[in-house]
Symmetry: C2
Subunit: 330 residues, 2 copies
Amino acid sequence: MSVATVSRTLAGNYPVSDATRARVTAAVEALHYVVNVHAKALSGRVAGPVALVLQDITGPSLAHVAAGAEQEAAARGRLSLVCATHSDQDREDDLVQLMREQHAAAVVLVGGAVLDDGYQARMAEYARALDAAGSRLVLCGRPPLPGDLPVTVVEYDNRGGAFQAVDHLLGAGHRRVLFLAGEPLNTSAEERRTGYRQALRAHGVDYAGELDIPGPYTRVSGYQRTRAALDEGLDFTAVFAGTDVVAVGALAALREAGLSVPGDVSLVGFDDVPFAADLTPALTTVRVPYEDLGRTAVRLALERENRLAGDDHVVLGTQLVIRQSVRPPK
Amino acid sequence: MSVATVSRTLAGNYPVSDATRARVTAAVEALHYVVNVHAKALSGRVAGPVALVLQDITGPSLAHVAAGAEQEAAARGRLSLVCATHSDQDREDDLVQLMREQHAAAVVLVGGAVLDDGYQARMAEYARALDAAGSRLVLCGRPPLPGDLPVTVVEYDNRGGAFQAVDHLLGAGHRRVLFLAGEPLNTSAEERRTGYRQALRAHGVDYAGELDIPGPYTRVSGYQRTRAALDEGLDFTAVFAGTDVVAVGALAALREAGLSVPGDVSLVGFDDVPFAADLTPALTTVRVPYEDLGRTAVRLALERENRLAGDDHVVLGTQLVIRQSVRPPK
DNA sequence: CTCCGACCAGTAATCGTTTACCGAGCGGCG
DNA sequence: CGCCGCTCGGTAAACGATTACTGGTCGGAG
């Protein structure tokens, strides 16, 4: 029996007699035969995997994006490669190169990025290099790139979310809102800052630079910045944390200082991570549809593969979830 | 210039004149050339990827295992495929088949499993099939298989961890400890139950079946089971939750019933997820080295690849983290 | 009885690399 | 001056599948 016969039998789209079909399946059983993807990919084409590139898998929001993306990829018969960069730019460069070699269908860069000098040129380079290799670059949770690049962008409304959060605080009567921002130049952080300032302006409150404190989106940074603000005697009655994780740190610092939340200080977060509702007090925060974000990113990239049509820019909305960490100032 | 020259130049392990090297690199630049992994894999060998198979990426403990595994894999130059099964056995079967085709170096099954009738036969089948395809099956967070199978097992001390937790409660004077177990036949759950019972015996306390309540490791189940126990008027002064997430649900139910933790009821969890310390009260729980678990799983599997030697069974220890959710009964 | 078409199976080219083997050019040494 | 060996580049086989093309067998129709 020739290899051609076996191949056709397994493919199933060619007339094969029942006798040979039986012989083939029997041999497959006996020899534990499995096709070799590499060989298969070389001739008839195999659908490429989806690559998920993120800073850290354990971050609650990033994990949800990854979960959504994996789910969508699996539903479309793709495997998902997930890679952590730990904010290492060289690693990201390597990964893009690797994914070209792997013939990934899509390379999804997840999460905000620091918008430094080389950023846009680097992304443009990624987009072109991946496009030339037949892969699609997807930016997920970061803003679009200028120019006409082969890239798909799926973002969410950071500015609007922040606006809602701060509007809620100001609507309750607060005027001095400490903003625990993100890192300087971080795209998400900047957009949230814009929302913060717009809400301030909408309520006729002057922006006070000393209340806008940058720092990483981590628990300990939230704790330290809040603690420092308290030690400096900064005047504020509410805190808008750039992230729920930061809010948790802030909560710890406030409590440690003998301040009650929301009795003395109100607190709003961002992300609506699963445990936000389980804090004491339950955290009022901005819900971001993270799983949707991941699903949409993969869906758009994979839809592009076939027909040329299709969106290549989507903005998902956010939603303020009111719980129990906000109260009018005393 | 022949392809052979190009290949050798790029490989770099063959004498090539500077002139040709320059020509090659120039052409690579100009044509945006990248090697094709599939072709490469067909001839000279390419190191296979690591496959991480877990129920759900967003579970805090599973995410940490995945992060550790990905990190170790990346450090060894491997890509990581991550796949969610959502507890679907057929999907798991498909995945094992897929990974054979992919020539994965290791297939890591992460998290406890339900030990039903077919379980061991199925795992044995996986182990043999993967072994025949040159892959290594790794069981991560579940017990070893009987018999002499080509499988690597990396587990942690569920029984010992549960013992420590319950011992701590009993040592504080509690005698009626509600156990919010896992699902019936789930390996982790059964081991934790064993630890619970052993601790009881060690303190001369009789095991009371009505205090041992099975259910899924979810927040809502923790809430519902605690609520039901309260409604039934069950007598208990402490709760040992099979998981921190379950503990969170229990905490909500207790609080809703007007009971203070740890004033009226003490509470211990399991896992030490990141937010455990941020609950009110900070949760006393059992720390499991999840990242280590993932790293070790990948390390052992990959070490096997070369030399035949190496461990194929490791048990990692757990550690009781005492915080503020336990107090002697009134 | 012959011829044609349907049905089935084999031959060989192809995908993109790697690498064993071969051979050409050339410099040094006897 | 001739031979040897080193340097460097080409030829071709192999990896494992898919598939166009070819060809053989058999049944039915003319």
